[in-house]
């Protein structure tokens, strides 16, 4: 249902101002929400595909790749290897990464991410354990992202949380060396871009 203009702004505006705000209100209604990006559109096209982007400088590309690998090694290497232990549910863990709370996180919030072995198709299974995240109002949710330069850029899945600890299985269908860490965000209803970062490995 469309929001009612009078409910939103009240009835005490001067006529000129009311007309101006009404115009903005009508444009917002006419614009409507934007469609959600599918995972295939989540990454920027043309950065890796030099053939699609003929102006791309290959030397610069190589330098960025080396830098990304170095950052990935430094950040992702911050976890510890667990010798491919298998848990009772059959999850083969290869690495555990701790996430740290940002100032926006609820008090006592923490998370860890257990990275499984990559499958033949290139999927990295992950077991995410979150503690002390708040139960969100209806339609709010949490999302895990891979980060570039500390910014969440590639989605790895969404979840809700209730109770002290929640465990979720998610997946990263990406080349991890292209990224430098993970971030967990709070997502508002229908928000498809990264929300407020609550926990991060960076």
């Amino acid at each position: 249902m469309s929001p009612d203009f009078d409910d939103l702004v009240g009835t005490d505006l001067e006529p000129d101002e009311r007309r101006r705000l009404r115009h903005a209100h009508d444009l917002l209604l006419a614009a409507g929400p934007l469609p959600e990006l599918s995972p295939s559109l989540d990454r920027t096209p043309g950065i890796e595909e030099a053939e699609v982007v003929p102006f791309f400088n290959r030397r610069r590309h190589a330098a960025i790749a080396v830098l990304a690998a170095a950052i990935a090694l430094a950040v992702f290497g911050g976890g510890y290897l667990t010798g491919h232990e298998r848990d009772s549910a059959g999850f083969s863990a290869s690495r555990v990464v701790a996430m740290e709370a940002t100032p926006a996180a609820p008090r006592g919030a923490s998370a860890s991410l257990t990275l499984g072995a990559k499958d033949d198709a290139g999927n990295w299974p992950m077991l995410v354990r979150v503690t002390n995240l708040e139960k969100l109002p209806p339609r709010g949710y949490y999302a895990l992202w891979l980060t570039k330069k500390g910014r969440p850029v590639a989605p790895c899945g969404t979840f809700v949380s209730a109770g002290r600890t929640t465990e979720i299985r998610l997946n990263a269908p990406y080349k991890l060396t292209r990224f430098d860490g993970w971030a967990l965000t709070l997502q508002k209803p229908q928000q498809h871009t990264p929300g407020r970062v609550l926990l991060t490995t960076v």
């Binding site: 939103l8 005490d12 101006r20 209100h25 917002l28 006419a30 614009a31 934007l34 920027t44 096209p45």
Partner: protein
């Protein structure tokens, strides 16, 4: 004596919460081969462009392909952008629209820009073009709002939340939601001043 409500006159905020690079700045950097600028522009425009492609092609799969190809086209065309001729958003819209139409033509597909011979019910090509540009321009303007105002407007208009639900969701007083809604609408009216009349 009878009390009367004091009309609230909103001042047009002169200072934006966080300075951001303009579309034109990003296009100029892209023209120099800056992939970071390209990524920033993609983050800013991927969803508006998908919305435009969906309106024009009316098919999700074709629209997604068109987005990928259109950004490649933007990367290639960026050197032709001239800031002295106008801001980046209309230039981007024109490049995007042309890329989608050209692509559809090359594949023998129809877009709303190429009307069928028989008139179908609903909006015609001119109205569709106008609606597409309104959506494009309004979303771009909302993106320029300070995050606190942008959040309440997006939740109110595009997430279907009532003001009390927004207050609960953002954990702020209802009065703050109302204030931010008014100031957000006022700022949006400033940003779109003179357009779409």
């Amino acid at each position: 004596m009878e009390a009367t409500a004091t009309p609230v006159r909103l001042e047009s905020p002169a200072v934006r919460a966080e300075p951001r690079e303009t579309d034109g700045d990003l296009l100029q950097r892209i023209a120099d081969g800056d992939s970071d600028a390209f990524e920033s522009l993609y983050r800013r425009y991927a969803r508006p462009l998908l919305g435009l492609a969906l309106r024009m092609l009316r098919d999700r799969s074709r629209a997604e392909d068109a987005v990928q190809e259109t950004f490649a086209s933007i990367w290639r065309s960026a050197p032709s952008y001239r800031p002295e001729r106008g801001p980046g958003a209309p230039w981007l819209y024109a490049v995007a629209r042309n890329a989608i139409v050209d692509r559809a033509r090359a594949r023998g597909e129809q877009t709303f820009a190429e009307p069928p011979e028989q008139v179908a019910p609903g909006a015609g090509p001119a109205e569709e073009t106008e609606a597409s540009y309104v959506s494009w321009r309004v979303h771009r303007a909302v993106d320029d709002l300070p995050p606190p105002e942008r959040d309440v407007l997006e939740l109110a208009y595009w997430s279907g939340l009532s003001q009390s639900e927004i207050a609960q969701f953002l954990d702020i007083p209802l009065g703050t939601v109302k204030t931010r809604t008014r100031s957000g609408l006022a700022r949006l009216a400033d940003l779109l001043e003179g357009e779409f009349r």
